[in-house]
Each structure stands twice: as C-alpha cells, then as structure tokens.
C-alpha cells in the first residue's frame, strides 16, 4: 500500500516536479498560475507566427485565439459538470447550444427583419434561451436517464441532429412565418442582435463621439498601431473571460458541496449512491438541465458576437471538439477544462492553420502541387519540398490527422488528461489530515 504511493511519487513526471516545487503555494493560486502560464505559452507561439506582420496583426490574432479559447472553455466547463462530475455522456452539446441561440434570436430579433423576430429585450431573450436549452435538456433526460447510461449518449446525439435539421427546414420556416409571424431563417440563417462592446467606446455608435474609457484606451493603443476595431473586439473577449470565470466559480462551488459529492458518487457508482438514500434521478436531471443551460449561454455568447447564425454552426463536430478540449485537460477537473480549451484551441484548432500559413509564407515554395500524387511525383523528380508545400496548403485536412494522433497518444500516455489525476475536494469544508487534529484539540478542551 504505502509502497505503491511511494512508487507514484518517484515516477519521473514534469507535473509532479512542478507540484513538488510549488507545494507550499495554495491550490487555487497554483491553478490560476497554471492557466495563465499555458495561455501565455500559446500566445507566444502565435506571436511567432505573425510577428512580422506588425503589432496590430499580433493583437488581432491573439484576440481570435482568445475568443475561441473562451467559448470552448465555457463549453468544456459545462460538459465537465455533466460528464466529468456526474458521468452523464452528453454528445449533443451542439444541439443544446442551438436551442439557446435560436430561442434568443427569435425572441430578440427585429419584427421587421428576415426572418421576423419578436423584438423582446435582449437580457430577457438570453435568459429565455438558457431556459429553453434547459427545458430541451429535461425532455431529453427524462426518458433517457431512466434507461442504461449509454442510452443518454444515443438520445442526445439524435436530439442534437434533429434540432439542427429542424432549424434547417425551409418548410418549417415558411410555415412558421405564415402562421406565427416568426421564423428560423432555415438554411440561409438568421440575423442576431449583434453583441458588441462598441457601446463601451462610442456614444450612440458614432466613432466621432468617444466615451471616457475609449479616450484612455485609444490613447495607449493608437500610437502602437492597434486599430480601434481590434480594441473593441478585444473588449468583447474580456466580457467572455468574465463569463468563463463565472462558469468556473459556479462549478467549483457546486463541486465543493454536498450536492457535488452526490454527483461524484453517481459517476462512481449510482447504485451505491441510491442505496445510501440519494434520489439519483433527481440529481441527474438537475445537473443535466443546468449543464444544458450553460451550453445554451455559451452558444449565445459565441454566435451572438457574429450577428448571424445558421444551422451549420451546430454540426456534431462542435460537440466532438468540446469533448477533445475536456479530455485533453482532464475530465472531472475545472482547471483541466480551461487548460484543455487553451491547448485544444492553441495547438489543434487555430494553431495548425496559422502555422501552415506562416510556413508557406516563410518558405515561399516554388512548386505548388494540387494533389498528393502531383506532390509525390514532384518529390521524385527532385523537388523535395513539394510534399511539404502540399501539406501546409492542406493544413485543415491534416488538422484531423493531428487531432487523432494527439488523442491516441494522450489516451496511451496520460489517460487522465494533461493535468494528471486530480481530486478536487467534494465537500464544503477541507478534508485534510489536519482537520482531525483540530477536532482532537477541541475534545481535549472539553
């Protein structure tokens, strides 16, 4: 027993070494440090790709990267609540996002727009979007959670695709417009009330009339050559980061509570939890609905910023990406979810594209083959770089190969995720060895 523990400790591992070196720093501080460290590592990488295009380019690229990191972090956190904490295998993430976004879009949309909306206030529409996602979650969970665990996976995938195809339906859209006076836009999509931080910078949207905040910020960024539009886009990303922190705090609180303890026990062994008096169905339904509401919100914050949404934004691949982010960081850990989102977006999602672009620019290939066969024949005929040029040109296809390789290696070498095995205390009070001595001291006094 003790030998096993010692063996674990002596196993060579970078994270273990880091952990040992930072043992006297408290866990939350270390976690924030870890997140910020990984984030700036990814930033450094991207800065290298685009540094030759000037500071505005760098800042703008980092904004795009951070935007995706933030939305994937929110989605990974929401999925972590369902899958990581409770073991609910939801592979319909994209569908619940769609319900949130479309509900928001229909409620807040312009009644004179195409498709027409109801023109209700935006905050109400956002909350209603979350509620709708939770409600669809309830409808999905009610029948599926009674059955075996794997049924939930099948049902969620099915529901997610049904939602996407329904939104895509032109017949439904015209029928809705005729009978109710609102629509989904079907395949051609729907305009959304645009979420932007412009209001923070310009009074009444006029660029000539700047707010006090804008004057201060632009005074710094202007001389650096950073465009105002980039700054405004960054401000929205900061709003997203605030939401990520909110998600994180919410989940951490849930995890460190008796409620979270029951979730964890359901994941470990549902029959044990119910034999100890926990109404596990109720817990699962609550947590599934909450997770779906958070997915809806993440979807709203993501798509809303683009002012437009179409069913194509909710392909099953989005769900897959969220799973990849969660698995990379380590399912079950909130810090892991965020780190996973950073690594996924940085190294697997945005990274390869930028790297490919930077490489082909830098190398300025002479040969530009269009097929792999052409590339191979060029290599044979004495143009060794041709295959490489072909690869960098087709980086988006290679991205999937990379994704697969990374997942396989990860599963083999680190099935617990990058952060390794984490155990975030499932109680509202510390459960360390010291709590016994505190107790002992108290009983001595009596």
């Amino acid at each position: 027993m003790t030998d096993d523990v010692d063996a674990d400790k002596t196993a060579p591992s970078v994270t273990e070494a880091v952990r040992a070196a930072t043992a006297d720093i408290s866990q939350p501080v270390r976690d924030v440090g870890l997140i910020v460290g990984v984030l700036f590592g990814v930033y450094a990488l991207f800065a290298v790709f685009v540094f030759n295009q000037g500071l505005n380019s760098v800042v703008s690229t980092l904004r795009v990267v951070t935007f995706f990191i933030a939305v994937y972090a929110m989605l990974a956190l929401a999925l972590n609540l369902q899958w990581g904490y409770t073991g609910l295998f939801n592979i319909g993430v994209a569908g619940f996002m769609a319900v949130g976004v479309y509900t928001m879009g229909i409620l807040a949309g312009d009644p004179a727009g195409s498709p027409p909306g109801l023109g209700l206030p935006l905050p109400f529409a956002i909350v209603a979007g979350m509620a709708a996602a939770a409600f669809v979650g309830l409808l999905t969970a009610l029948p599926a959670l009674r059955l075996r665990a794997d049924y939930l996976a099948i049902v969620t995938l099915g529901i997610s695709e049904i939602i996407r195809l329904t939104l895509n339906s032109g017949a439904l859209n015209s029928w809705l417009i005729e009978t109710v006076g609102i629509g989904t836009g079907a395949g051609s999509g729907m305009g959304l009330p645009s979420f932007s931080a412009r209001g923070l910078f310009y009074v009444d949207g006029s660029t000539a009339n700047q707010t006090a905040l804008a004057e201060v910020v632009f005074a710094v960024t202007g001389p650096l050559g950073i465009r105002e539009s980039v700054v405004i886009a960054w401000a929205y990303v900061f709003v997203l980061i605030v939401f990520v922190v909110g998600f994180y705090v919410l989940l951490a609180r849930i995890g460190n509570s008796p409620f979270g303890r029951v979730l964890k026990s359901i994941r470990e062994d549902e029959l044990v939890a119910s034999s100890l008096g926990k109404h596990t169905q109720l817990f699962k339904i609550k947590v599934f609905m909450l997770g779906c509401a958070l997915m809806g919100l993440a979807g709203i914050l993501w798509q809303g910023s683009q002012g437009f949404v179409s069913p194509n934004s909710f392909m099953p691949i989005v769900t897959f990406y969220v799973f990849v982010a969660l698995i990379i960081g380590g399912s079950g850990s909130n810090t892991g979810s965020v780190v996973g989102a950073i690594v996924f977006v940085g190294l697997l999602f945005e990274g390869p594209r930028r790297a490919g672009g930077a490489l082909s620019d830098a190398l300025a290939f002479t040969a530009n083959p269009n097929t792999s066969w052409e590339a191979l024949t060029l290599v044979v005929s004495g143009e060794p770089l041709a295959l490489f040029a072909y690869a960098t040109d087709n980086i988006s296809a290679l991205q999937f190969v990379l994704l697969g390789v990374v997942l396989i290696v990860l599963m083999q070498k680190r099935p617990e995720g990058l952060l390794g095995h984490r155990n975030e205390t499932a109680a509202a009070v510390p459960l360390t060895e010291q709590t016994r001595s505190i107790r002992g001291g108290e009983s001595d006094e009596q």
Partner: protein
C-alpha cells in the same frame, strides 16, 4: 418436531393470510398486526419471488427479523441470499411478494426511499466509490444534508449553514473512522484500500446513514481472521446500541456463534429457520451443506 419447523410453519400460515389480502389495503390483517407491534419486527418479508429468465433465484421466501437481533442468513453459493438482499433494499423489484419495514409495505420503493426510512445495506463485493477519499465516502452517506440542494450549495448567503453542517458531518465521519480503526486512511482514495479495508469502509459508510436495520452481505468474506474478529466485535457493539442486523455469511461457525436467529436458504427457498443449535442439527440443512464442513 424441532422448533425451527414450528416457526417456519407459523410463518407459512402468516404468509398465506398475506396473500389473500391485497398488500396495499390499509385493513389487511398483517398491516394491523404489524401496526400493533412495530418495534418487535422491523423487517418482514412474505412470499418473495424473483426469476431471472429461466432461473428462479428467490422462490416464496418468507421470514422476519426481530428488533435488536443479529439474524443470520445462510445458504450455499447461489442459494439466492444476495438476490434476497437486492429485493429487500429496492435494488431489484420482486416478481411477487411483499416487504414490510416497521410495518409499512415498502415493496417496489426505490433504494433511496428505503435507505431514507432507516434500512441500509452493504454489498457482497465491496462497492467503494474509488475516486472519492475515505472521508468523502463517509460524508456522502448522512441523510438530510441541506447542502444537497443545488441553490443552497451555490448561493453565497446560505452557504454558511451548509459549512456548519459539513463541519459536524466531518466530525462524525472522523469518529466513525476511529470506531472502525481506519482513520489513518481518511484522506486516501477509497480505490487504493485493500479488500478488508474496503469492507470496513462500507460498514462505516452504511452507519453514517444513522440506520435502524443494517443488511450486511458477507462482510467477512476474504478478510483475514484478526480483521474478522474486529468486524464481529463492532457488530456486537452496535447491537448493544440498539441496531438490528441481518447478516449474510458463508461461514457456518460465525453464524452459529454470533447470531440469535438463523435463516437457511437453499435453491431460492427457505429451508429452515430457528436458533443456531436447532439449525445445526437440522437434517435438511446438513444435507444441503453436504460436503461442506459443519463441525
């Protein structure tokens, strides 16, 4: 005629009476009888039956457990003991028959509803929650935890009362761990414990629900002799505190020495019931255990 046969006969009559009246009826004779003497018989099962495909795992089982007793449930492997536990605790629903707990019909209730009423069970193969620490395992069990409500666990204002209760539960968990002498393992993940330690953990966790009746499924299987003595000692101490035990055990000796009342199952059916001495000399029991060491 031995006394255990008399008991079995009496129960059989009892059971027939049961069948004639719908179990839901408030006026059924059994309900009324149970209502007049509820503390004496916390658990009573009548005509319990369960089939799995072609196999009849439990067939027409009727017995009762007296308050404050340690009742043994024995029988050869595959006799249907664990299935009986699953039927009583709500993990499985019986095909027919009724389970009464403190006079109330609890047949078909969910396991959590039954546990909340004060009947808790352990599993034959220890089911620790492997990635939770030993302390977390114990703190999961108590009933009426205010922090199990989602909004209470999240909203800032009300979390104070949750923390207060958590501190009490942690204290209670430490005490229980000390009682079972596994307090040195408190912060370990339950999955790293040895088989015997996991058995102790399961008992400790069951006790944290503050039960009246504890169903233990082979708590001493695969446990070394000194740990076995420890477990038996704890069971007796808890019995002195007023708990009732129904104990499945493979080892005849243990049952004979430690139980006031013994129920013998064979091929899903009740074979005999009575005091250890009469069971020991029962021909049918000896036959059923043929080849096994009865001493």
């Amino acid at each position: 005629m031995s006394s255990d046969d008399v008991t079995a006969d009496a129960l059989a009559t009892d059971a027939t009476g049961d069948l004639s009246a719908p179990p839901e009826s408030q006026d059924s004779p059994v309900e009324r009888a149970a209502a007049t003497t509820p503390p004496a018989v916390p658990l009573r099962v009548t005509n319990l039956k369960k089939t799995f495909g072609g196999i009849t795992a439990v067939d027409d089982m009727s017995f009762s457990v007296e308050s404050g007793s340690i009742t043994g449930l024995i029988g050869p492997n595959g006799a249907g003991k664990s299935t009986t536990f699953n039927l009583i605790s709500g993990a499985l629903t019986p095909d027919s028959g009724t389970v009464y707990f403190n006079g109330q019909d609890i047949t078909g209730l969910r396991p959590d509803q039954i546990a909340t009423r004060g009947m808790v069970r352990t599993f034959q193969i220890a089911r620790e929650l492997p990635e939770m620490t030993v302390l977390e395992n114990l703190m999961l069990a108590p009933k009426n935890q205010i922090g199990e409500t989602l909004w209470r666990s999240v909203l800032p204002g009300v979390r104070g009362s949750v923390i207060e209760q958590e501190t009490e539960l942690r204290e209670q968990a430490w005490e229980t761990l000390e009682f079972f002498e596994i307090d040195h393992l408190a912060t370990n993940e339950a999955g790293t414990l040895s088989g015997g330690q996991q058995k102790l953990l399961e008992m400790a966790r069951a006790l944290m629900t503050d039960p009246e009746l504890v169903l233990l499924d082979e708590p001493m299987a695969g446990v070394n002799p000194s740990l076995e003595r420890k477990i038996l000692d704890r069971i007796h101490r808890l019995q002195e505190d007023g708990l009732t035990f129904l104990l499945v055990e493979h080892d005849m000796d243990v049952i004979m020495q430690h139980c006031e009342h013994v129920i013998v199952m064979h091929q899903g059916r009740l074979l005999a019931e009575g005091e250890p001495d009469t069971i020991r000399s029962n021909e049918r029991v000896i036959e059923a255990y043929l080849g096994e060491d009865l001493e």
